[in-house]
């Protein structure tokens, strides 16, 4: 039997068997006391009936029957019985009840305890699995270990809530029918009825007054206090739910507030520029020593200086690079060993021909090696949109081999075309982003290992593509988010190598 089935059986016991048991005990006691009252007219038989009463009532009832048989004055016999019953402890002794409470709470919380222990072990296993990993790979590798464990915790918490409600109902039922005061009152009533039946003409002033003093209170104090407690408990529960709603919402939405809050590069997009925004991929842009290349919507600027003006359709002049301003002096401050890299801010509608034209000019004329294509993301906990960067190498560096090659052609993106395991993703498919991200993760992980920075070859066969669609493909390939919503986790940190 699995632990879930075990919990199911225990729930069945609590919801069905336990209330029936409590009600059955109360009915049995009532019936036994009714038999005791009926037998009171025959004192010889009363003792035998008293001996068949439930254990807690047996001793005072037997003593009362004995006193009646010995012709003891009724007042004295009844007073003794009342005193005896007031000193009777109904139910099991406290140590037995404490042991039963321990067993029941362990049984009731067994699944919850096991799921918490399982989650703790999963965290330790995840820590071991993540030891040699870096970046978003840690998230990807450990999520598969942690998610099932915490799903189980969630399941058992819900099960435990049902158990808690059942146990509360049973406790309330036991309080109503079986608590000491109720049993005592039930027995006092039976004793008085038995006395009337045994000696119809006798008086019992002492016992009568004692019984009147011991009669249960019938004021509204207890119900009002119980109602106030219920309202307070409900208010506390609602307040707790309200205070923790943020956690639950982020858990339900698979959104994690892990985007680094450290210093970001001072990227300021020119007026009118629409920076592409996507819900996944890209890494925090931290490098502050890079110049920024801004392409569009009206001009191309490098580190704030005009390189060239664009026409109304974001295209470079036909004569470009002739007529472009000389940026050698500006770039000299950013070059290291003859090469340099840039942050690239591109207007969303700029065609890739314009972007590539500028990049190839800077590569051929000034030694530009790579750019960080900047997109915007809105990760949970960051408070606002944050810049995320995708590394794009302009040509294949020496000694670098791509783990997979991404070919962009029209509305299709093909991974490793010509290979036996080639995959084509159509961008008209609503789930194309998730499919592309998963395919890239699997391939780069298998070929380069989970700990390495993925290197992805890039072939553009459709240069009329707008810049935002190009970045969408790159961010999807780099994304680690399991859904189409922004999960808040940085991308794989892939290096895209522009092969053609």
């Amino acid at each position: 039997m699995s632990s879930l089935e075990g919990i199911g059986a225990f729930v069945f016991f609590l919801v069905v068997a336990a209330p029936i048991g409590i009600i059955a005990i109360a009915i049995r006691e009532r019936m036994a006391l009714a038999r005791f009252v009926r037998a009171a007219a025959d004192p010889d038989r009363l003792k035998d009936v008293a001996l068949k009463l439930p254990l807690a009532y047996r001793a005072p009832a037997t003593a009362f029957a004995g006193e009646l048989a010995r012709k003891t004055p009724l007042d004295e016999a009844l007073t003794q019985a009342l005193t005896r019953i007031a000193n009777t402890h109904f139910g099991r002794p406290v140590p037995v009840r404490a042991a039963a409470a321990l067993v029941i709470s362990v049984l009731a919380l067994g699944g919850f305890i096991a799921s918490l222990t399982g989650a703790a072990q999963a965290i330790e296993a995840a820590a071991v699995a993540a030891r040699d990993l870096a970046g978003a790979r840690v998230f990807l590798e450990t999520k598969a270990i942690l998610d099932p464990a915490f799903d189980l915790v969630r399941t058992y918490v819900r099960g435990t809530q049902v158990l808690g409600i059942s146990m509360s109902v049973n406790l309330a039922l036991a309080w109503w029918l079986l608590r000491s005061e109720v049993r005592e009152a039930r027995f006092v009533k039976a004793l008085i009825e038995a006395s009337i039946a045994a000696r119809p003409n006798a008086t019992a002033p002492v016992a009568g007054r004692v019984a009147a003093l011991l009669a249960p209170e019938r004021s509204l104090t207890a119900p009002v206090a119980a109602f106030a407690f219920f309202v307070a408990a409900l208010a506390t529960s609602l307040a707790t739910l309200w205070l923790t709603s943020g956690f639950r919402e982020s858990n339900a939405g698979q959104s994690y507030a892990v985007w680094p809050a450290d210093a970001r590069a001072p990227l300021v997009s020119p007026s009118g520029m629409v920076v592409p925004s996507f819900p996944g991929g890209g890494s925090p842009v931290r490098e502050r020593s890079l110049a920024t290349l801004a392409v569009g919507p009206e001009r191309v600027d490098l580190a704030g200086d005009l390189l060239v003006d664009l026409d109304a359709r974001f295209a470079l002049p036909a004569s470009f690079p002739q007529g472009a301003n000389d940026v050698s002096r500006v770039l000299s401050g950013f070059k290291r060993g003859g090469t340099f890299e840039l942050n690239l801010l591109g207007h969303a509608s700029t065609p890739m021909t314009t972007i590539l034209g500028v990049l190839m000019y800077l590569k051929n004329e000034h030694g530009l090696q790579r750019v960080t294509c900047v997109l915007e993301r809105a990760p949970a906990g960051a408070g606002a949109r944050v810049p995320a960067g995708l590394k794009l190498e302009l040509g294949v560096p020496e000694g670098v081999a791509a783990a997979t090659t991404l070919v962009v052609e029209g509305s299709r993106v093909v991974l490793d075309p010509g290979a036996a395991d080639s995959i084509a993703v159509d961008r008209t498919d609503p789930a194309w982003r998730l499919r592309l991200g998963e395919a890239v993760r699997v391939r780069t992980g298998a070929k380069q290992g989970a700990g390495a920075v993925p290197v992805i070859g890039l072939v553009l066969r459709s240069t009329e593509l707008p810049y935002d669609r190009f970045l969408e493909i790159l961010s999807s390939a780099d994304s680690t988010c399991p859904t189409t919503a922004d999960c808040g986790v940085p991308g794989l940190g892939a290096r895209f190598v522009l092969e053609r």
Binding site: L82, A86, A127, L213, V258
Partner: protein, 184 residues
């Protein structure tokens, strides 16, 4: 394997709760024994001595003191204050673990993972212990409440009998044509 602050909170919390339950039980047993002794003294004809001793005892024995004073009223027993205090303290270790875990949300160092794992194990230990201790403390208090009530009822029966006897004697002294209600 548990480690760090969660281990300390869990161990101190569980041991503290068990110690509190034992202390409540020991204290309640002492009170019950005192109540029984006072009743025996009173029934043995040394009611004044019992009353003097009861005055020096805990306020929880106030109903017994009232009954020793001959009061003809229903015993007013209630759960002792210490029970409510212990019940209020019982959830604190689990709450402390929850607050500690709240601090760990967003931590990025590897040692935090061991602490988070320890927090979960701590909750797994404290949950059943808390429920058991809470139930035990209430059961002990209820049993003690019943013992003190029993002692009061024993004394009350004696007081009522004395009052009825006095009323009858007074009626007979005045020569009222009253039938002795104790007759059958």
């Amino acid at each position: 394997m548990m480690t760090g602050a969660p281990l300390v909170i869990t161990a101190a919390g569980a041991l503290g709760m068990i110690a509190a339950a034992v202390a409540v039980a020991v204290r309640q047993r002492k009170l019950n024994d005192t109540a029984t002794r006072l009743v025996e003294l009173a029934l043995g004809g040394r009611a004044d001595e019992a009353r003097i001793q009861a005055r020096n005892e805990s306020s929880e024995l106030a109903p017994v003191l009232e009954a020793l004073g001959g009061e003809l009223a229903a015993p007013k027993t209630k759960l002792p204050l210490i029970t409510w205090i212990v019940l209020a303290v019982i959830p604190l270790p689990t709450l402390a673990l929850a607050l500690y875990a709240r601090q760990l949300v967003g931590a990025v160092d590897a040692s935090s993972l061991a602490l988070v794992s320890s927090v979960l194990q701590g909750v797994a230990i404290l949950a059943p212990v808390s429920i058991t201790v809470a139930y035990t403390v209430v059961a002990v208090a209820r049993a003690g409440q019943r013992s003190i009530r029993g002692a009061c009822v024993t004394l009350l029966a004696k007081n009522v009998k004395a009052a009825v006897d006095a009323e009858v004697a007074e009626a007979l002294r005045r020569g009222t044509n009253l039938r002795d209600p104790r007759g059958e």
